[in-house]
Symmetry: C2
Subunit: 199 residues, 2 copies
Amino acid sequence: MEASGPQLVIDVPAWVDAVTAAGASYATDEQKMALAIRLARENVHRGAGGPFGAAVFEIGSGRIVAAGVNSVVRRQNSVLHAEIVALMLAQQRVGSFTLRAPGQPAHELVTSCEPCAMCLGATLWSGVSRLVIAATREDAMAVGFEEGPVFPESYAYIAERGVTTVWGVGREEAASLLRGYRDGGGAIYNAVPPPGRAG
Amino acid sequence: MEASGPQLVIDVPAWVDAVTAAGASYATDEQKMALAIRLARENVHRGAGGPFGAAVFEIGSGRIVAAGVNSVVRRQNSVLHAEIVALMLAQQRVGSFTLRAPGQPAHELVTSCEPCAMCLGATLWSGVSRLVIAATREDAMAVGFEEGPVFPESYAYIAERGVTTVWGVGREEAASLLRGYRDGGGAIYNAVPPPGRAG
C-alpha cells in the first residue's frame, strides 16, 4: 500500500548486531538473560539510551530472532522500550503480526527488567509463549523509572492466554545495572513525573 | 547515531493525510471524535486494516498534530494499533519523547475505541494530558477483539499522573462500526485467542 508523507524509522544501533551475533543459539535462560543484560549495559556505556535490553528467541532451538535496546531518547519516541523494539523486529523477521503464526516455533521474550504496562500488553499481542524477567518493577521504580498500571492480576490475565512468566533470572545483576545507571547520573526520562515528585 | 541492518518503517496510508486535512483545527470533542471514527471507517473501507482510528490534538487550539489507523495486518506488526501510530507520529512531529516537553501546549489523544493494555500504557508515557474514548472495551470484546489486562484501577493510576479520561463521546457510532466490521467478515486478528475460544 502506498505510504503517505509522515513516516518514522525504527532501528537499533549498529553495535547491537555485533553483540547479539545474529543466528547464534543460547541454550539456557541464564545465557539468554546474560545477553539481554549485556545489551542494556552496552546501551548505557555507548550513550545510546536507558539501561534496558531485551531479545526474542525461539524456545526450542534457542536461536535469537531479534534484539532491542531502549531507544526512547535516541529516537525521541516514548514507545521504543527495549521489549517493543525486539518484538517489532522479531515480527518483521518472521513476516507475521503474531509469533504464533502457523508453522512457527514457539517464541519467548527475555528482558532485563519487568515490562511496563505498555510492554506487557505488547508481549501478549506479540504471540510469544514465554516471558523471562530479570530486574523487577520494584527495582526499576527504586531508581525512579515509572512502570505504569500493572497489577498481579495482569500476570494472571496473560497466563490464562498462554504466556508463562519466569521471574528472577539475573535479577541481581540487572538491578545493580539500574542502580549504577542512576548513581552515574543517567537520565530518568519519564514523560510524566510520578505523583508526589517535582516535575 | 549510526543505524544497523534491521530497520522498520512506520507510516500511515496516503489517504490519511487527505482525511485529516493537516493543520486543521477541531473545536469540540465531538468534532475530534468524528475524525477518529472516520479514520477507522476509511481504514476498513479501503482494506487497509482494522476498525480503529485515533488522533493527537493540541488541547487549546484544537489543532491536529498526528493521526493513526490500525496497521497491524498491513505492516505485520502487532504493536501498530491506531493509538500507537498516532502517538509516535505526534512525538516525531514535536521532536520530543514527551508531549509535555517544556514550551509545549497540552495534548490529548482521541480514539475511536478504548485503548488496550499496551495503548493505555503508551498513553501515559506519551505525555498527553487527556484521553477521549468512543467505543468501550466491552464493545470491542463483544465483536471478538482482545483488550488485554486493563482494570478500573488502571484508569485511577493514569489519573493520579495527570491524564484525564473522557468516556462516551461518539460511542454508539464507533460501536456500530465495530459490529459492522465483524458482520462484514472483517478479520479479528488477535495474536492469541481468548480463553475458551478455538484458536
